[in-house]
Symmetry: C2
Subunit: 601 residues, 2 copies
């Protein structure tokens, strides 16, 4: 009942049609990406997820991590699973072959991440963070730093973490106090790091032989605020002359948090420099730490969006299995029949259809955005890279926030489909609901994502990136409306209306931004919801067009393709209508939001 099997057909379809895998594979950087290879990767990833990671998900939640004498003990099975992940080279997929990477597109790596997060979100966080740290090092590390750390991270022999948050510095990184003093007595570029960091995911564990902490800190002489932040590599064990873990660095885990979910992911309070200062090595330029961090942010935020997708897929599979098995009441369309499986009841079917449509829309959106990430890095033509970079930066907050909010929604529907059993922990549906709830919070809260979209992303280049996206959506809705297929035509009609209101709300917001930033900020969240709802419908519309084309070309996968078309129409008629409501809120809701004074609450 609580099994997971990777939805290979829809994953492959979304890679092909939403991300445009064949175009990606045509880029010189990805010559090795053959269709057979992709299928093999997905299949093996699915196997690891369903056979190794999924079975330890519920026990891991129940038993959690234990902190004792400065050491984090992971739940049973996590070490073996980690060893298998490393042995399979799974962390290495998107990295530089010169350091042991496989040089594959991030798009494929993100599809593989989906299977980790769906199978076991707590487990998936360690390779997610290690990939983030590797990405940071690959972009900003010196040759020496790469020689020392990059290969170890790419293989998974060592794991990585991100150390940003402090008690007084959450969304506001400018308030970071952790300090870094140049230590001339040591190697060149060495610093002594002191300070406390909180909410450090996998800050301590013994799955890997070393942990490479990427730490934001400031030097005493630097400017205040974010402009004085630098990024440091702070390993748990200092590498010895042979590159092996040597002397223990001056850092430790103080405690781990008792959380609503992801119980098998240790969330650590880390203390640096209790004994004079942890040795750290400057990564990138001094006082440019935040800029450095931003190079990996698109990737990390997309990865958290992928967690939203993964947990939604898992919750959907479980609810669907239950709805097929649970017998209760007669079906309305068969009043003389016996009691029916609850999937036959229209209201349950609406829940399942909503879960399915949202999950597939998220998948298409995530893979599409990952495709832009690869193009932005690897397109041979600079103009093409810039264009993809602009699209990537526009879509990233949407992929993060919309997919994680929808992840919670789908997990909650999953609980509901189970009725009373959904509230019982043994069933497993409640775990998905609990686990999913972190995604809208970490890696920049969804409020922060909305502000990023509605202010920074919208105002850049006079709003050109949004205009181009809306033009692309228009091309899709018009193509749909031209189709002789009545499902596509209806989907296109609804998408056209939604695109129209997105356009109008964008105009309103762009006009307001320059005059009254508070007003714009007051409707940032409904704008992001609107944007995500329309973008999800657009992606399903693109997939429906592709499905129709494959059917017309005589594909033998008719049932899957026909279901894609029906799912797009369900989304268009049952979920896209929210776009108009969100647009009304964007255009008329700011004043009454700001009208409530502090004392009115």
């Amino acid at each position: 009942m609580n099994d997971y099997s990777a939805p290979l057909a829809d994953m492959r379809f979304a890679l092909d049609e939403a991300a445009g895998l064949s175009d990606l594979a045509a880029l010189p950087a990805f010559e090795s990406v053959e269709p057979d290879l992709v299928d093999a990767i997905l299949q093996e990833a699915g196997k690891l997820a369903s056979e190794v990671l999924a079975p330890i998900n519920q026990p891991g939640d129940r038993d959690g991590c234990v902190f004792e004498n400065g050491v984090v003990r992971m739940p049973a099975g996590f070490q073996a699973a980690y060893d298998e992940l490393v042995a399979g080279g799974w962390i290495s997929l998107p990295f530089d072959p010169a350091y042991g990477g496989q040089g594959l597109p991030w798009t494929i790596a993100m599809a593989v991440q989906e299977t980790w997060h769906a199978a076991n979100m707590s487990f998936g966080l360690t390779p997610l963070l290690t990939q983030g740290a590797a990405e940071l090092l690959q972009a900003h590390g010196t040759a020496d730093q790469k020689d020392t750390y990059l290969g170890k991270l790419i293989s998974g022999a060592w794991s990585g973490t991100m150390n940003l948050t402090e008690p007084q510095a959450g969304s506001d990184l400018g308030a970071i106090k952790a300090s870094a003093r140049r230590d001339d007595a040591n190697a060149s570029e060495a610093y002594r790091i002191t300070g406390q960091k909180i909410f450090i995911t996998y800050g301590e564990h013994e799955l890997a032989e070393n942990i490479v902490h990427m730490v934001l800190a400031r030097s005493p002489e630097g400017p205040p605020g974010t402009k004085g932040l630098s990024l440091f590599i702070v390993p748990k064990f200092l590498p010895d002359e042979n590159g092996n873990p040597g002397r223990r660095n001056d850092l430790r885990c103080v405690s781990i948090e008792n959380k609503l979910g992801i119980h098998a992911s240790p969330t650590c309070v880390m203390s640096y420099g209790d004994d004079g200062g942890a040795l750290g090595y400057l990564l990138g330029e001094e006082n440019r730490g935040l800029a450095g961090m931003f190079t990996m942010m698109n990737n990390a935020r997309l990865a958290v969006g992928t967690q939203g997708l993964g947990i939604a897929e898992r919750a959907y599979q479980q609810a669907l299995a239950y709805a097929r098995e649970r017998i209760q009441s007669r079906a309305l369309d068969d009043p003389e029949g016996g009691p029916a499986a609850i999937i036959r009841h229209p209201d349950v079917r609406r829940n399942l259809a909503t879960m399915k449509a949202l999950t597939e829309a998220m998948r298409a959106l995530i893979y599409y955005t990952a495709g832009q990430l690869d193009r932005a890095k690897s397109a041979p033509d600079e103009a093409a890279r810039d264009q993809s970079q602009a699209r990537l930066e526009l879509m990233t907050p949407v992929a993060k926030a919309w997919c994680t909010d929808r992840g919670v929604e789908v997990a909650s529907l999953g609980v509901q489909v189970h009725g009373g059993m959904g509230f019982i922990e043994e069933t497993g549906a409640a775990q998905h609901f609990r686990d999913s709830r972190i995604n809208p919070i970490y890696e920049g809260t969804n409020g922060i994502q909305a502000l990023d979209l509605a202010t920074r992303k919208l105002s850049r280049d006079g709003g050109a990136a949004v205009r181009e996206l809306i033009a692309d959506i228009k091309a899709t809705d018009e193509a749909l409306q031209r189709s002789p297929d009545s499902d596509l035509k209806a989907t296109g009609g609804a998408l056209g209306e939604a695109r129209f209101v997105l356009d109008a709300a964008t105009d309103w917001l762009a006009g307001t931004l320059t005059g009254d930033l508070s007003k714009a900020a007051a409707v940032a969240t409904p704008y992001l919801n609107l944007f995500g709802t329309v973008a999800g419908g657009w992606q399903l519309g693109r997939e429906a067009l592709a499905a129709r084309a494959r059917l017309d070309a005589g594909s033998d996968d008719a049932r899957f393709l026909a279901a894609k078309i029906k799912t797009a129409r369900f989304y268009a008629e049952n979920l896209l209508p929210q776009a108009a409501a969100e647009a009304v809120v964007v255009m008329t809701g700011a004043e009454s939001t700001l009208a409530l004074a502090d004392e009115d609450f």
Copy 2:
């Protein structure tokens, strides 16, 4: 940070203006209801809630109930709190003075319930169920039964439970197998009950000296389905000749569930008749058990809606306190200032305003519906009783489902306002999120409520009840639009549009019901969402009119009243727009929902 104080000002305002307390007090049945008395009751209830119930909420969640040797041990402090509840006579408020009740309106009892659920949802369930059992007995019991049980329940000396669900019979009560055989060897009207019941809230505990189980079961000779169900009083201890708990009956708790939330409320698997049959006494007529149960259903469903309200109020208070204290980033409207409390940030303010507006809308809706319950019981005029009964039956599924879904939404926003701290159990916000999630499930899932509204309630009397409600909403939106106050005018405009789409969607649904029940059922949930959204806006609109009138009359409570008006406008411009989207889904979404075949999932 995790304190609770009863929102006495808004509670009293909603009693006066939403429920119409002065009209209620004018009914002959409620002669004793003086304004001073109501204030005293609310104040004392608030004190019990904040000083006794709230402090044991988080420890109760952490420690949970323990089941050992057939006995449930409650968390620390629960016995003392229960004793204080009983000593204060709090359970007795709405019951017959002939049996020790206080003869007060249910409206006031429901306001008191709000404080229990807000302070401690797990605790609140035991008086909630005892009141339900007392209601059942008061309506259907014989004089002997009332003499034996009613006074004990009303005082709280004994507690009550509802035993409906069995493993194969959840939403479908017709599938109940528990059997009741007439036992001539015993007292008249005695039966032997055997069978297993699950999800029995407070099925076993020792807070009270006896537990009176109300059990649905069938006699072997009765018709199949719901028409063969009878209701039985099955006490844990059989009353002796003096009416005290005597011999142990043949029933036991087999186990308790490990749940997502309400850890301090024991959810029991009950076994009846392991040793030949538990003694039970027929309550009401044979084979009319379900009809009997329905007499208390409006009350019980409203009470669960009140839990949604209570948990929302609690989550709001906690998030608000955090938002006032937590300092992070400069305010957009004060870029030269220092870091500000996060309540100053427009996106956080939107979350808080949404929480506040939804909570106040729920409160008005619940109290309004409770007012109808009292009128339906106690209006001297039969036509008035009938009218209130019709309104009550219409609003009950809305109050239950809409308020419980909104309860989860508000609790989730509460987590979000806390950022990373929201995910840490110690903070307490996560508990509200977990606790709230049961409300859309029990006492009839929200899907069942939606079907009840969209089929049974809508089709009764040719839809007259809905039409009358819509006419009332129209009167309110027109009064608002006529106001010279621009906030009221804007609120009325938005409410008028929402009422218009509710009308249109109702027409569509009424027309579809007769032709295609599956289609109607496929959009029952969006119809209930639409209905609830509009009804909530209507209630806040009514309250805004009343607030304006009080201001115009020179009330010295200007800040509170002005905030009510601003809150209504916030709701109208930020939440009511969803009504149009839901109406579109009602009118166009059914076909694509049903188009997905079983194999398409």
